[in-house]
Every structure is written in structure tokens, then in C-alpha cells.
């Protein structure tokens, strides 16, 4: 049985779980209203007590939406951070913290790290399996936007070759990220460093924006890319090429005139080759090769405990809501106690009264749950906009199977519990109800 289950696709498994969760509610509903047509009375009850009903639906929607919103937001954040690292198959750096290097290279968080020498760069760049070996150079900024030195091939690869304007052809030309507040043709003088400590007067070279990248959904959208030679030049370093060599930007570099790079982004021609390259460029006390995807996955695994705690909190919230719904149902049924007693006095079968009360409860629960789905998605979108604005990582929340399962499980349990207030109506003496 377990092997059959494992052989099913994830979509089939999720669909079957969803069906298993909703089936108890559907069966209860079918058994309760079978042979009766309670909807005319239910509509009348919904209209007669519309304001308490609206409040009840809103309460359910708020609680369901909160749980769904949190889970959808967490998943959106996970997908967004992973998508931002998609183009960074492998990074080679000096031995140290993979996390620090990943934050610096992928998410452009400033950090002081040792530099790799030209020999290492050339060995990687000249490897048969390597299609892109992009040195990165950090350290400067303009108006809060980090300036990253690299090579033209990487800028094209990062933007899927979607560059408005043209690629740089001179040391002091730049490609702006999609959301950098600079237009093509604008010039600027880079500041040394980042944030409050940036020194505006440290450099005198003026850089002109000649192109703009399409949005990538990553912090690189707010970065300015320049030839790596530019960063070296403004810091008074050699430009990677011998003084007597013809003027050029990008590789090949002369190891003797290569000032160093904190990280090299490597793309191989095949996935399997990336793993082989990692083995080749992981060397004791010399280089460290790592996959940002693996580092992120390990981070997610640690954060998974937090996610489980969140899911548990959501579950507890749903249980509390289910209890509140049950209590609320008992209270609501007291509102139309007299009407139900009148029905019974007129000879309506007990099962018909049961089906009316249960259907009424089901309408409130389903309405609240569906509205809650919308509230959850809306809340997740609002939170995502805030996170995207603050981190530049594009977070797009979507409703996934987890939320669907949560919703259907909640509905099934509450539909089952709704039988209790319906049964309580039947247990009350008819005469007392008529006098109420």
C-alpha cells in the first residue's frame, strides 16, 4: 500500500488527502439532508438573523484567513528567496562561512571576506566544463544602491539578456538594476562603502549608466553593475590586464595583475558537471565551492522547526475557532428556538428540523471558510508587498495544498460538530420552546 502511495504523483497525493479530509463533512451533509428540502427555511433563517450571521461569518473568515495567510506567506518567502538564488549555481570563495558568502553574493549583504587570487580565477574560468566564471567585486555604492563589479556575460545571464540600452563598453559605464533610480545616460560618482558610513568623496571617477536590466526578483534589481575593472580602477588597483596588453574588459585576466575577488559565480554546461566542479574546487585552506541552493535548503531545514511551530499554532487556533463555532452555534440556535419548536409542534419530523439547523450552520461555516480563503490570500499579499519592499526579494504568495487541506479539515470537523447544536434543538421540550 505504501509503495502504491509513493508511486502516485504529488498532485494525486494532495488531491486524495483533500478528498479524505472533506469526505466526512460531505457524508454527514448527505446523510443529514437526504430526503428533505431545508433550503427555503435556511434562507429565511439567514435573512431573519442576518446581522448575527454576518458577524459569525466574519469571525470564521478572520480566524481561517489568519492561518492561511501565515502559511502562504511563509511559502512565498521561501520560494522568493530560492528564486533569487536560481542563477547562482555554484560560488567559489576563500574558505569561510558559506552563509556569509551566500548573503554577500546572492543577496548583496555587505561583508568583509578574503579574496581569491588570479591563478584560481583563471583555473576556474579555463575549465572545460565552465561556461561562466564571474568574479564579483563589492565595496562601493550610490544612493544606497550597491555597486557590483563583474563581467558582461554574467550581467547578460542574470537578466536573461533582457537589457534595455546597451552593454558597457568602457571601464566607467554601468548597467542599472531594474529599480535603481537612475536613467540611461545619467552619471554618478560612487561612494566608498555602504549605508550611513559610505564616504561620498572617496572616489572621483564618474560612471555613466548605459543600460538597464529587466527585473530579476532579487536584490540585484536595486544594484548597479559595472565592469569589475571599474571597481579595481576606482580603488587604485591593477585592472586585471598587463599594462602593455591591448585594452579590454573582462576575461582572460593576467593573474599577475588580478587584484583578487571575494567570490566567483560559476555556471557549468551541465548540472552533473556542477557537482564535479564542486569536488574539484573544494580544497583545504585554498578554496571553498558551494551551492547557494544547498545552503538555503539547510537554512529552510532549520527554519522548518519554526514553520512547524507556526503550523501548530495555526492548528491550535483552528481548534479554538472550531470550539467557538460550536459554542456560537448553540447560542444561535437559541435565537430561533421558538421557530424550531413551532415546526415540531406542527408535526415536522425531527430529522427535518435537524437538517434545517445543520444546513444553516453549514452555510455559515462554508461562507466563512471561503471568505477566509480570500482574507488569507489578501493578508499574504499585503505582507508580501512589505517584505518585497524591504528586502528586494520578490515574494509572490499563492494558496497551496497545505492551506486547502487546512481549510477542508477545518470544514469537516466543524460540520461534524454542527450536529451537536442541531441535536440539542431536538432535545429541548417543544412547549418550553414555544414559550421562549
Amino acid at each position: 500500500m505504501s509503495s502504491l502511495w509513493a508511486s502516485l504523483s504529488a498532485t494525486w497525493q494532495d488531491s486524495l488527502i483533500a478528498l479524505a479530509l472533506v469526505l466526512p463533512g460531505l457524508i454527514i451533509g448527505a446523510l443529514t439532508i437526504r430526503g428533505f428540502a431545508p433550503w427555503a427555511l435556511v434562507r429565511a433563517l439567514l435573512w431573519r438573523f442576518r446581522w448575527p450571521n454576518v458577524m459569525f461569518v466574519l469571525l470564521i473568515a478572520a480566524s481561517v484567513g489568519m492561518g492561511i495567510g501565515l502559511i502562504a506567506q511563509e511559502r512565498g518567502l521561501r520560494k522568493g528567496t530560492a528564486a533569487a538564488a536560481d542563477k547562482f549555481d555554484m560560488i567559489v570563495a576563500a574558505p569561510g562561512s558559506e552563509m556569509t558568502l551566500m548573503l554577500a553574493s546572492v543577496y548583496l549583504q555587505p561583508s568583509d571576506v578574503p579574496l581569491l587570487k588570479g591563478q584560481i580565477y583563471n583555473e576556474i574560468a579555463n575549465h572545460d566544463r565552465v561556461t561562466i566564471a564571474a568574479p564579483l567585486a563589492f565595496g562601493d555604492s550610490f544612493g544606497g544602491a550597491p555597486i557590483i563589479g563583474t563581467i558582461a556575460d554574467f550581467a547578460r545571464y542574470l537578466s536573461d539578456d533582457q537589457i534595455e540600452g546597451r552593454m558597457w563598453q568602457d571601464t566607467f559605464e554601468a548597467i542599472a538594476g531594474a529599480y535603481v533610480p537612475l536613467d540611461i545616460g545619467d552619471s554618478f560618482v560612487p561612494s566608498h562603502g555602504f549605508g550611513d558610513t559610505a564616504e561620498d568623496d572617496a572616489h572621483g571617477d564618474q560612471i555613466t549608466v548605459v543600460g538597464r536590466m529587466a527585473p530579476t526578483g532579487s536584490p540585484w534589481d536595486r544594484a548597479i553593475m559595472v565592469p569589475v575593472e571599474s571597481v579595481w580602477a576606482v580603488h587604485g588597483l591593477a585592472n586585471g590586464h598587463a599594462p602593455d596588453a591591448p585594452v579590454q574588459l573582462g576575461p582572460p585576466y593576467d593573474a599577475a595583475y588580478f587584484p583578487g575577488t571575494p567570490a566567483i559565480v560559476v555556471k557549468a554546461d551541465e548540472l552533473w558537471a556542477t557537482y564535479s566542479l564542486r569536488s574539484e574546487f573544494t580544497r583545504d585552506a585554498e578554496t571553498m565551492a558551494f551551492f547557494p541552493g544547498t545552503v538555503l535548503a539547510e537554512l529552510y531545514a532549520v527554519m522548518g522547526d519554526v514553520r512547524q511551530a507556526m503550523s501548530l499554532m495555526t492548528l491550535v487556533t483552528q481548534v479554538l475557532v472550531a470550539t467557538s463555532v460550536l459554542v456560537g452555534m448553540f447560542i444561535l440556535t437559541r435565537l430561533f428556538r421558538r421557530q424550531m419548536s413551532l415546526l415540531r409542534a406542527l408535526g415536522a419530523p425531527g430529522r427535518f428540523v435537524l437538517s434545517v439547523v445543520w444546513s444553516y450552520a453549514a452555510m455559515l461555516l462554508v461562507s466563512g471558510a471561503v471568505l477566509g480563503l480570500g482574507v488569507g490570500l489578501g493578508a499574504a499579499h499585503a505582507l508580501s508587498r512589505i517584505v518585497t519592499a524591504r528586502t528586494d526579494i520578490l515574494v509572490v504568495p499563492q494558496i497551496g495544498w497545505t492551506e486547502v487541506h487546512l481549510l477542508l479539515g477545518f470544514l469537516s470537523v466543524t460540520l461534524l460538530l454542527s450536529l451537536l447544536p442541531a441535536l440539542a434543538v431536538l432535545r429541548r421540550p417543544i412547549v418550553d420552546g414555544l414559550r421562549a
Partner: protein, 167 residues
């Protein structure tokens, strides 16, 4: 005991697993599960997680001790309907393993088959794996097959229980 691999290799027994030389307190059978050697290839600590599902991932430290590049081509096991090399990928924020056709290891280099990296995936397993069990597989390389006795570690293990020991 380093003499053993040399003698076996000289006799042309290229796919024979041998015992390691530093675990004096281990018996021979246990050592076989730690290190397997053939012509220019050393595979240390092959292991997998305990579990009941039809699929499992096998990890190990593979070292190319030869003078030329070594290519891993896949694996075979009598316990599984198929075996393949897989590489870890983060897709839409979720963990995935994608089939890869081969892996090259440069001369003198080591490749770690590890969780969230590369691994050998066994499919169609019909029996549960319990901690302490062993699975037999054959690692396929361009230099021939190497028999491995894979140790079954705890369900949540992230490395071989003897990882870090010298062999």
C-alpha cells in the same frame, strides 16, 4: 594492512573490497562496510537512512586515487528495481533530486555523496531498512564495478555514524 589492497590489485582483483587499516578494534566484516577499494577508487562510509518507503538515497565519500579522471556512471542493486545518480536541486523553495547521467572526479580529488548534494537513489525497494542493516550495491564506474556494503543509519541521520574516523 595497506599491503592487502596492493596484493589484491596486483592479482587483478579490481573489484574486490578490502578492509581498512586503522580500525584495530573492528572486526573484518565491519571494516568492509566502511571502505571499499578498487583500481584508483576508494569509497568510504557508504550509508543510507532507515525507512520503509520504496526509495532511498545512498551517500558515501568517493576518492579518485588514480592518475586520470574517474567517471561514476550509476549503480545496481539486487534489492532495488533501479538505481541512478541524482543531484540535489532547490526548485520553488522545495527540495528535489534530479537524475544525472554521470559524475566526473578529477585525479586526486574526493567527491562527497551527501544529503542535499549528489547521491545514488535506489528505487523499487520492497523491504524496509532498519538501523544496523546493510544493503549491497554495485557502484558502476568507467573503471569497472565496485561492490559496496551500505550501512543503514538512523532515519534522521545526516552522516555516517563513523564519519570523521580515519581509515
Amino acid at each position: 594492512m595497506r599491503l592487502i589492497p596492493a596484493l589484491l590489485l596486483s592479482l587483478g582483483l579490481a573489484t574486490t573490497a578490502i578492509a581498512d587499516d586503522t580500525h584495530d578494534d573492528h572486526d573484518h566484516d565491519e571494516q568492509d562496510t566502511h571502505l571499499a577499494v578498487m583500481d584508483g577508487v576508494e569509497v568510504l562510509h557508504p550509508w543510507t537512512n532507515a525507512g520503509t518507503g520504496p526509495m532511498t538515497l545512498i551517500f558515501a565519500e568517493v576518492e579518485n586515487t588514480g592518475d586520470t579522471a574517474l567517471t561514476l556512471l550509476g549503480a545496481e542493486s539486487d534489492d532495488a528495481t533501479s538505481a541512478e545518480l541524482v543531484g540535489f536541486m532547490l526548485k520553488d523553495g522545495s527540495e528535489n533530486y534530479q537524475v544525472i547521467p554521470m559524475l566526473e572526479i578529477a585525479p586526486g580529488r574526493e567527491l562527497d555523496l551527501a544529503p542535499r548534494g549528489v547521491a545514488i537513489r535506489l528505487n523499487g525497494l520492497s523491504t524496509p531498512r532498519t538501523e544496523g542493516d546493510e544493503i549491497e550495491i554495485h557502484l558502476l564506474t568507467d573503471r569497472g564495478e565496485l561492490a559496496l556494503r551500505v550501512a543503514v543509519e538512523a532515519e534522521d541521520a545526516m552522516k555516517h555514524s563513523h564519519a570523521g574516523h580515519a581509515h
